[in-house]
């Protein structure tokens, strides 16, 4: 099997696993623990910011309103972009669920038109 074939297979497997996790995580995920993992253990915040706001240089916005868990999980497990893949040996599913719960817990963004520094042009 070629490398690209392996990647597709792995991606589908991760997606399938994600669907299962997605069904169960509502009961188990811990947003507070997820924040600690996001900011202290796995270094997600280094590129995405402590609130998942993202950066035009280092990584996209993750929150608020994160993409579906399955899509996020699939990308994280198989990324071939500048972010290296975080495989399950590095980032266990339980930790990823908690991180996702943290991202889901981040409140909506203010409307920029209500922020004088951004709207007073």
């Amino acid at each position: 099997m070629s490398m690209s074939g392996l990647r597709v297979t792995a991606g589908l497997a991760a997606l399938a696993a994600g669907l299962v996790i997605g069904q169960s995580m509502a009961f188990a995920a811990d947003a507070a623990r997820g924040k600690i993992l996001f900011t202290q253990k796995y270094g997600c915040y280094q590129c995405h910011g402590t609130e998942g706001q993202g950066s035009a240089i280092t990584g996209p916005k993750l929150a608020p309103d994160p993409i579906p868990y399955e899509a996020l999980s699939s990308f994280i497990r198989t990324s071939s972009r500048n972010m290296p893949p975080f495989r399950e040996q590095i980032l266990p599913n339980a930790d990823l669920e908690d991180i996702y719960a943290y991202l889901k817990s981040i409140p909506p963004t203010k409307d920029w038109k209500t922020i004088p520094l951004l709207s007073n042009d």
């Binding site: 490398m3 900011t39 202290q40 253990k41 796995y42 270094g43 915040y45 280094q46 590129c47 910011g49 402590t50 609130e51 998942g52 706001q53 993202g54 950066s55 035009a56 240089i57 280092t58 990584g59 916005k61 608020p64 990324s79 071939s80 972009r81 500048n82 290296p84 893949p85 975080f86 495989r87 040996q89 590095i90 980032l91 963004t109 203010k110 409307d111 920029w112 038109k113 922020i115 520094l117 951004l118 709207s119 042009d121």
Partner: protein, 658 residues
């Protein structure tokens, strides 16, 4: 670095003994003594406890009748005249014995005006200050360094200037004559050829062996440095040439050659016409600019060219080339992928503009590479850098084959290119151009809305988001005649989205060589230049960069340089975080963070640095640390008043990584 103790073994008693020996030798000199192979000092054996003679006491206590024992004007006085003749106003330097001759001449003979000695605390700072000073003012700054150790300290800054196409004239003191120079440290600090240290990344260098040689070489070096492509140059100042009086035979023959700046090289006219035809006839052209505008004319010509063709300008921000307020200021990968003509002007890395590279594990870890352009796209370049390439250091980047390459200075070539475009445009093009321009107006407005919406995310976060940091700075300086003199530590490109740039001096570009330690001193040099121009200088200052040589804060205080440093204090070397993370992930390992919030060796935590206190320790007003984003605006207002009163200030804002 200064020669800390030029005569470490000589105490006062031994010094007096030496004077006695020298005096005796003078009194009893005979042809045999003069021709002796062994120096008289080493041969003599005189008890060190002799009482000083009246002559010796006079040497120690009286003011010498003739400051120059051999008589006549000091050679380094003439050197000051030469430097002054080229219009150089400042010499940035950390003091050192190997240039003590010219140092004394600068402050006494020259009266420390034009040029004025700007005291720096590290040679890397001296050179970076001259680098920033040029970019703010367009004027050449001179630097004095101790020839070996001082130049070694300054080498990274020379490389930054080289990569950033910035002229600096570096003069290194050296004592070439091994038979006369003092032993010990001064000899350790001498070399056969100090210029060799930086020869690979200077445009030209020389070692003048006489005053006339110095005069010619200084004027020549100035001319070379100031002709595009602008680059640093290096001169050795030999101790004997500096310290000896003007020789008898030189008194009536020494002269200072007239300095006449050379006109910048323009691209060949027929090639410019060919480029104009390609632009005029293209359906989706794009112009990509990096280090084009160094004067108001550069910006003005780019606007004229863009509007003639309704062509989008992608600004890579090597300088402030094109106003981001203009609707033809565009960004985005679709500009490159859909283009049929891409015109790169003074590009640092054209390959990376038209190709993609992802640093992943594919291709046995070499990463993914792919073309970004569609088949048949015509590639055009203009650059002066190709006039002066060197082979060792790889700042010329990957080779990109193009369809039309022009060698010449882009800013100087723009008027001819514009004329060629005007001649090539036919009336039937106008409607298509107008339609194209209308699309870019809408795209520009949409991009602005997206940027504002993105800036609002994590608006109240602590640590402070880089968008909030940038927006608060913009709010504080927007009513000033501001100049963003540097931005280090990476704030995710927010200034180009939140500031409104329309003047060439509002953004001076980055270091060039990406060597840490540029931002703090280059900002100070630029601010020093901006001071006389009445501009307000602000620098977004990375913490890692500041800590390379924070002594530049003292220089700011000592010379009353009005500059607002706003710390982007993300407490880490974040460029490196992802490299370690990437390696760990490829090897299926979790990066070891130790006690920090990032891989061991990449964070500046435990303890956290208090930059306000650091500033205060060197006479600079310090505000912070500020963790609450709502406190940042009021702090910046205070800081603006300090800078307007003519003083530097550091505002320590604790920020998100990027």
């Amino acid at each position: 670095m200064a020669r800390k103790n030029a005569h470490p073994e000589v105490n006062r008693r031994k010094f007096l003994a030496g004077v006695a020996v020298a005096g005796a030798a003078t009194t009893v000199t005979s042809p045999d003594v003069v021709n002796a192979a062994t120096p008289p000092v080493a041969a003599a054996k005189i008890p060190s406890a002799l009482r000083p003679t009246a002559q010796q006491i006079a040497v120690e206590t009286e003011i010498p009748k003739d400051a120059s024992p051999l008589g006549g004007r000091a050679g380094s006085d003439f050197m000051v005249d030469v430097i002054r003749s080229t219009g150089i106003e400042y010499v940035f330097a950390n003091p050192a014995s190997s240039f003590r001759g010219i140092h004394e001449s600068l402050i006494n003979y020259g009266g420390n005006t034009k040029p004025e000695f700007i005291e720096c605390m590290h040679e890397e700072s001296s050179i970076a200050m001259a680098h920033g000073y040029f970019k703010a003012t367009g004027k050449l700054g001179a630097v004095l360094v101790h020839g070996t150790v001082g130049l070694m300290h300054g080498t990274m800054a020379v490389y930054n200037a080289w990569c950033d196409r910035a002229p600096v004239i570096v003069m290194g003191g050296n004592d070439l004559d091994a038979s006369r120079r003092p032993p010990g440290v001064p000899t350790t600090h001498s070399a056969q050829d100090i210029n060799a240290i930086v020869r690979d990344f200077t445009k030209w260098d020389d070692t003048p062996v006489s005053l006339q040689h110095f005069a010619q070489s200084f004027v020549r070096a100035t001319k070379f440095a100031m002709t595009p492509p602008h680059e640093p140059v290096m001169l050795t100042l030999d101790a004997e040439v500096q310290e000896s009086p003007i020789k008898e035979h030189e008194r009536n023959t020494l002269y200072i050659p007239k300095y006449s700046p050379a006109a910048p090289p323009q691209a060949e006219v027929a090639a410019l016409r060919e480029a104009a035809k390609l632009l005029v006839n293209a359906q989706s052209p794009v112009i990509v600019v990096d280090r084009v505008a160094r004067t108001p004319d550069g910006v003005k010509y780019l606007i004229e060219l863009a509007e003639l063709l309704q062509v989008p300008i992608m600004d890579m921000n090597g300088r402030m080339n094109f106003p981001n307020t203009h609707y033809l200021h565009q960004a985005g990968p679709q500009l490159i992928s859909q283009a049929d003509v891409i015109f790169g002007m003074e590009m640092t890395d054209f390959w990376n503009t038209v190709n993609g590279f992802v640093d992943n594990a594919d291709n046995d870890g070499l990463g993914t590479q792919s073309s970004k352009i569609k088949p048949g796209t015509k590639l055009v370049t203009i650059s002066s850098v190709e006039l002066n390439e060197k082979s060792n250091y790889q700042d010329f980047q990957r080779f990109q084959a193009v369809d039309l390459a022009m060698v010449g200075d882009a800013e100087a070539s723009l008027p001819s290119l514009i004329e060629a475009v005007k001649m090539a445009i036919s009336n039937d093009k106008k409607a298509a151009y107008d339609k194209r321009g209308e699309g870019f107006r809408k795209a520009h407005a949409a991009a602005h809305e997206r940027a504002m919406a993105a800036a609002a995310v994590a608006w109240d976060a602590s640590p402070i988001s880089t968008a909030r940091l940038t927006a608060e700075i913009w709010g504080a300086v927007r009513d000033q005649d501001w100049s963003l003199v540097a931005s280090t530590g990476n704030v995710s490109g927010w200034p180009s989205r939140l500031f409104k740039f329309d003047k060439h001096y509002q953004w001076l570009g980055s270091s060039g060589g990406s060597g840490l330690g540029y931002g703090a001193p280059a900002s100070a040099g630029a601010a020093h230049g901006n001071k006389s121009l009445g501009r307000f200088s602000v620098s977004i200052q990375g913490d890692g960069d500041m800590m390379y040589a924070p002594g530049v804060l003292w220089t700011c205080a000592h010379h009353s340089i009005p500059l607002m440093y706003v710390m982007h204090n993300n407490r880490g070397y974040h460029q490196e975080v992802m490299h370690v993370q990437r390696m760990a992930n490829r090897r299926n390992r979790v990066a070891n963070n130790g006690k920090d919030f990032g891989p061991i060796g990449t964070k500046i935590q435990n303890p956290d640095i208090d930059f306000a206190t650091l500033a205060k320790s060197m006479g600079v007003q310090g505000i912070g640390p500020i963790n609450d984003p709502n406190e940042l605006g009021p702090a910046l207002k205070r800081a603006v008043q300090i800078v307007k009163a003519g003083e530097p200030v550091v505002v320590d804002s604790v920020t998100q990584p990027r």
